[in-house]
């Protein structure tokens, strides 16, 4: 059992890992040979060194600050997004009124609206969370709403003939049918949360990985900027994997579709 799992894992990701190792090696070699100057592209070993040098402030101050914004932003996005999606599903007028607003909300360039958030919320955590929510709630609303719309009409009729009311049909048919779409939205959203929090921090903050990378780029410490990017990307990957795991658990029975 275990060996087959390892085999499957290596057949899934083996090539990816080989390519990563190859790329990192080439990168290291190119910088070591001085083909690209280190202040433009620091070598992987220098990035790692910077990560280690700064590990205290990175892991004890900036990463927790960013994670905090991401988690609060994600929690609010999921709650509000799901409620909006369900509300739009149940009420046509609500859908007609809200849908254009949702789309408009996504056309606003974040950079342009961020100063307003800072005017409203100051340099507190809420200005960052506001940006996070603005980027992350849209996929939740759309995936919830679209998921609830997916087919199921025949199932719906069947339950109607059993005397089911709207709520029963919603619980027994529409929620299970919407779950795959909803979870896809969740995965997208959690990654957007990291992006949103970083942008928020770039525009005005006193802590967080976005703030750190901005400060470091100001003093031309490319290796530290890359270290922060590395951490942000890892954070996104880990959060994505957590949701994927949740998805796998929840959709165990769905694999039978």
């Amino acid at each position: 059992m275990k060996t087959t799992r390892i085999k499957k894992w290596s057949s899934d990701y083996g090539w990816f890992i080989i390519v990563v190792i190859l790329l990192v090696s080439i990168w290291q070699w190119v910088v070591n040979r001085g083909i690209i100057p280190a202040f433009i592209l620091p070598s992987p070993s220098a990035i790692w060194g910077s990560l280690m040098d700064n590990r205290e402030i990175l892991f004890e101050e900036h990463l927790p600050a960013t994670l905090n914004e991401v988690l609060i932003g994600f929690a609010i996005s999921v709650t509000a997004g799901t409620l909006l999606g369900v509300g739009m599903h149940f009420s046509r007028p609500l859908e007609k009124v809200l849908y254009p607003f949702l789309v408009i909300s996504q056309t606003i360039p974040l950079i342009a609206i961020s100063p307003i958030f800072i005017m409203w919320f100051g340099y507190s955590i809420w200005s960052k969370i506001a940006v996070t929510i603005l980027t992350a709630f849209f996929p939740i609303v759309v995936s919830t709403y679209d998921g609830l719309k997916t087919g199921g009409n025949e199932y719906r009729e069947l339950l109607l003939t059993m005397g089911a009311n709207r709520w029963t049909i919603f619980k027994k048919i529409q929620v299970p049918l919407a779950l795959p779409s909803f979870l896809s939205g969740l995965k997208m959203s959690v990654v957007y949360c990291v992006v949103g929090a970083t942008i928020g921090e770039w525009l005005g903050a006193s802590e967080g990985l976005g703030y750190f990378s901005r400060r470091m780029s100001g003093s031309l410490q490319a290796d530290a900027v890359f270290a922060a990017i590395f951490l942000l990307s890892s954070l996104g990957i880990i959060l994505f994997l957590i949701i994927s795991l949740l998805e796998r658990q929840l959709l165990k029975n769905k694999s039978h579709i």
Binding site: E154, L159, T161, G163, I173, N253
Partner: protein, 246 residues
């Protein structure tokens, strides 16, 4: 049990599906409804179970106890089995009980007994996609039965099965019929099946509906189809359908 009087239904202007048709099904009867595709058999079922409303005429279920609101008053088995793919066989069969908010725990021994009788006892934890076509149909049929309704509307339950499986299902259903204590209205386009299973047959055609009685005692066995009487009846029924079409 079921009485339909002068029923008319149209899908929009000029698209009349049927006009002033009447039929009745008595308690404990097995009645088949045959007709070519597009003759409105499935539509008639949706009118009876309340998914559609007639333009004219009346539908009386249980001696007028149900007239207006018919949803939830008959057991309906649609053409596709519509088993929920994310639920096990047992959970699918329990669905009508959940909808009716009945206590599942109390009913579980009874449901298990039915699963055994339906040959599904070893598959109660299986998912629909792990079942054969015949088993899926039986599970869907059992789910219909679990609605606890007296009148069952079965829309071509064996239509998608291969002839061997179909034969098995016929003998299984004929064997079960005595203890079911239900009333069935059954859609099929298989004449042999209709004669073998039914007490009476209604032929639905553009110009109206024709009733035809099957004079065969019960219990019946599937071997009947090879008897001369049976073949004669089949010819007669076929003639009735063809003749009226011209």
């Amino acid at each position: 049990m079921l009485q339909i009087n002068d029923l008319s239904f149209t899908f929009g202007p000029g698209k009349s599906v049927f006009e002033k048709i009447s039929l009745d099904v008595k308690a404990g009867e097995f009645v088949s409804l045959i007709g070519s595709s597009g003759s409105g058999k499935s539509t008639l079922f949706k009118l009876v179970n309340g998914l559609l409303e007639p333009d004219q005429g009346e539908i009386v279920i249980n001696d007028g106890k149900v007239t207006g609101k018919r949803l939830g008053s008959v057991g309906y088995m649609p053409q596709k089995d519509l088993l929920l793919p994310w639920r096990t066989v047992l959970d699918n069969v329990l669905l009508p009980l959940e909808v009716a908010k009945e206590n599942k725990k109390v009913k579980l021994p009874e449901v298990r007994e039915w699963l055994t009788r339906f040959g599904l006892a070893d598959y109660e934890e299986s998912f629909p996609n792990e079942l054969s076509g015949g088993m899926r149909q039986r599970a869907a049929f059992l789910r219909t039965l679990m609605t606890g309704k007296e009148l069952l509307l079965l829309d071509e339950p064996f239509g998608a099965l291969d002839s061997m499986t179909k034969r098995t299902m016929h003998s299984w259903l004929l064997g079960l019929w005595g203890e079911l204590q239900k009333t069935v209205l059954f859609i099929t386009h298989d004449l042999e099946e209709a004669i073998l299973l039914s007490d009476r047959i209604y032929v639905l055609k553009p110009d109206g509906i024709k009733e035809w009685k099957v004079n065969m005692p019960r219990p019946r066995s599937p071997e009947l189809i090879y008897q001369e009487d049976f073949i004669r009846m089949r010819k007669e029924l076929e003639w009735l359908i063809q003749h009226e079409n011209n």
